[in-house]
């Protein structure tokens, strides 16, 4: 008798950008820098996906300004992705963006076997709508709770408290560098480094996660967001708030 022939599948890894496209992003080349950073990160992300065939890296992007909308609606294999530039204009409907995100983090359409998704929120300002409501709607979903949630603050006007709420509370007693705090980018170089890190190192870690001791344990590893151990930040950065290069934003 031969071994049973059943359908096997690698596991989808959904990577979703949530990009602030409010009017302030048009200033000082921030939007241009974001588009450039994402576009430049794609070859590295494709390479990581190629090195981890057990995961199927699928990218989506969501923009929010006056309203939230999908910029890249279909989960797109990273090797097929061609980045279309985002454009700035409007206010900051971040709460609506989280609601829209919540609509796709349910099963279905999320696959039973999917890996914990990676969600990257990038913003330079403060939400102008019901952020709390949107976050509450999102965080009642198991897939959102399991997700690797990262945030990048572009410039010093970004609301770090809101971005921290999106990530979840920082583990107690953690000092110094930590990707569990908003990453502060004050110029295009730093932004590109963070985007590159999220799309390669984090995707690599999320593609083949080692089992963790259950959060039910109350053990140190059970802190929020510890489902996928995050890799170290780029080595040039000693602390998320220590920037490299000139202070532009």
């Amino acid at each position: 008798m031969a071994f049973p022939n059943v359908r096997l599948s690698n596991r989808p890894l959904h990577f979703i950008y949530l990009c602030d496209c409010s009017g302030s992003m048009a200033a000082q080349g921030k939007m241009q820098a974001l588009n450039q950073a994402i576009r430049q990160s794609l070859p590295g992300m494709s390479e990581v996906a190629r090195q981890n065939p057990e995961a199927r890296v699928l990218v989506r992007a969501l923009r929010f300004a006056d309203h939230a909308a999908w910029h890249l609606a279909d989960p797109t294999p990273v090797e097929q992705l061609q980045w279309r530039d985002l454009e700035a204009g409007g206010i900051t409907a971040m709460g609506e963006a989280l609601e829209l995100l919540a609509s796709v983090l349910q099963s279905p359409p999320m696959e039973e076997r999917a890996l914990p998704p990676v969600l990257v929120l990038i913003s330079d300002g403060q939400p102008t709508d019901d952020f709390e409501g949107g976050l509450a709607r999102l965080m009642c979903l198991p897939w959102a709770q399991k997700a690797v949630r990262l945030s990048i603050a572009m410039g010093h006007d970004a609301d770090l408290e809101v971005l921290q709420q999106f990530i979840g509370p920082e583990p107690a007693g953690q000092r110094g560098r930590s990707p569990r705090r908003p990453l502060q980018a004050s110029n295009a170089t730093t932004l590109a480094q963070y985007i590159q890190w999220a799309s390669t190192a984090v995707v690599g870690a999320a593609s083949m996660p080692a089992s963790q001791v259950s959060p039910a344990s109350g053990s140190p590893s059970s802190s929020p967001g510890a489902n996928i151990p995050l890799p170290d930040l780029p080595p040039t950065l000693l602390d998320p708030s220590d920037d490299v290069g000139p202070l532009v934003w």
Binding site: P4, V6, E54, S107, S211, V213, S214, A216
Partner: protein
């Protein structure tokens, strides 16, 4: 007396990702035949899965030691506990064996740690060796299991039908996290997974115990169950190993382990369909008017007009209520879909043979179902959970996709949606 079970076959294969990364296989598996004081044979099979994270950098040793500790603990209990005493074994599986296994495992990892250079410099962190453990015992009169973590246990009937008998609760696990033998509450967690079933269970032909890498490699739970239903008859060890290598290469990339037990053929159990026939005859008699028997639980009496495929599914589930939860819980995503998309129920009911259990859920959504009490209770629980999951944070239900009479009645015995 001929043994009730064949010798279990076990196989662990390194994951494709671990092979690529030059990491060791962190799974372990074990099969043993032990002899009790009464001369009867107790078969044992176990699988363990080391966590493999950077904090659990010796988990490949932890999983080996966990399987060994399980064997030692069972061997120590066997001389004093006759296999015929299923009550004593049930208690052993719930509490005493997990306790003994954890103590033995703890002692073994401490001994291993002391032999290492690091052992002189720093105290042992048990998470360094952290792993899951699934243990199945196979006696002439019963089978039982205990353990903790994200392993799965599937029962295969004589007719080839596979049912999930045990899986880790979502409450215990989250995402890629799982319960572990290194946890202080490990014994209690094992107690939650412990069970003992008499072999009178109709039609049970085999059991398949597997680490999570197997299920996560299958495209769906249906594929996983199909795999288990067929692999139970596989004899060739080489074929099993090659098949598992294919599973990890084309699937999750994780280490994969299976332990397979099959009932030994005995006189009077030659026809694989006989137990089903007996069950069907019993159900027919019940349906013909013997329902007045005081059984404590209302038997399954599907209403007239219910699709025959769905009615048969109701009878199948109600024939063995102990496995209802394991059969229904994996369908939570389908329940959510039914809540959000009422047209989905129509589609499922239009072709019930494609997915009989899905059609049953759709029927229960539409109030067309009347099952046994246990089935109604499980359905009510799952519908309640599904509705809670779709409930917005302000506590208001979404626009009435659900009829008010479909909700479980407050204060009363939970019933299936619209079943009364």
């Amino acid at each position: 007396m001929s043994p009730a079970w064949g010798v279990p076959r076990v196989c662990s294969v390194i994951g494709a990702a671990h092979r690529r990364q030059a990491k060791p296989c962190q799974d372990a598996s074990l099969s043993r035949s032990l002899t009790g004081g009464d001369g009867q044979t107790l078969q044992l099979m176990a699988v363990a899965d080391g966590h493999g994270s950077s904090r659990s950098w010796l988990s490949q040793i932890g999983s080996e030691l966990a399987c060994a500790a399980a064997e030692q603990a069972v061997a120590a209990a066997l001389p004093d506990t006759p296999l015929a005493d299923s009550r004593a074994w049930r208690q052993l599986l719930q509490r005493d064996l997990p306790l003994a296994i954890q103590r033995r495992w703890q002692a073994a990892i401490e001994a291993d740690w002391r032999r290492r250079p690091e052992g002189d410099q720093q105290p042992l962190q048990t998470v360094t060796y952290g792993c899951t453990l699934g243990l199945v015992l196979l006696a002439p009169q019963w089978w039982g299991c205990t353990g903790l973590g994200d392993w799965d246990l599937v029962g295969v009937s004589a007719g080839g039908e596979a049912n999930l008998l045990s899986e880790e609760d979502d409450d215990t696990a989250a995402g890629e996290a799982t319960a572990s033998l290194c946890l202080p509450q490990a014994v209690a967690l094992c107690g939650q997974r412990a069970c003992l079933e008499a072999l009178a269970t109709p039609g049970l032909q085999g059991l398949v115990l597997s680490t999570d890498g197997v299920r996560k490699s299958c495209a769906s739970d249906a594929d996983f169950l199909a795999l288990c239903s067929q692999v139970v008859a596989l004899e060739d060890a080489g074929e099993l190993q090659r098949g598992l290598e294919q599973i990890t290469s084309a699937g999750s990339g994780d280490d994969v382990s299976v332990a397979i037990a099959r009932r030994a053929p005995t006189q009077g159990r030659g026809s694989p369909r006989r137990p089903w026939r007996a069950g069907l005859i019993l159900l027919t008699l019940v349906g013909a008017g013997l329902g007045a028997l005081s059984l404590g639980q209302r038997p399954a009496t599907p209403p007239a007009g219910l699709d025959p495929v769905v009615a048969q599914e109701v009878q199948r589930l109600c024939a063995d209520p102990t496995h209802l939860r394991a059969n229904l819980t994996p369908r939570r995503a389908q329940l959510l879909q039914l809540l959000r998309d009422p047209a989905a129920a129509q589609r499922m009911l239009a072709s019930p043979a494609q997915d009989p259990l899905g059609a049953l859920l759709a029927a229960s959504r539409q109030g067309q179902l009347r099952g046994c009490t246990a089935l109604e209770q499980q359905l009510a629980r799952l519908w309640g959970e599904a509705r809670s999951a779709t409930q917005p944070p302000n506590g208001k239900m979404p626009t009435p996709a659900a009829r008010s009479d479909e909700r479980p009645r407050a204060g009363g015995r939970p019933t299936a949606a619209g079943s009364r």
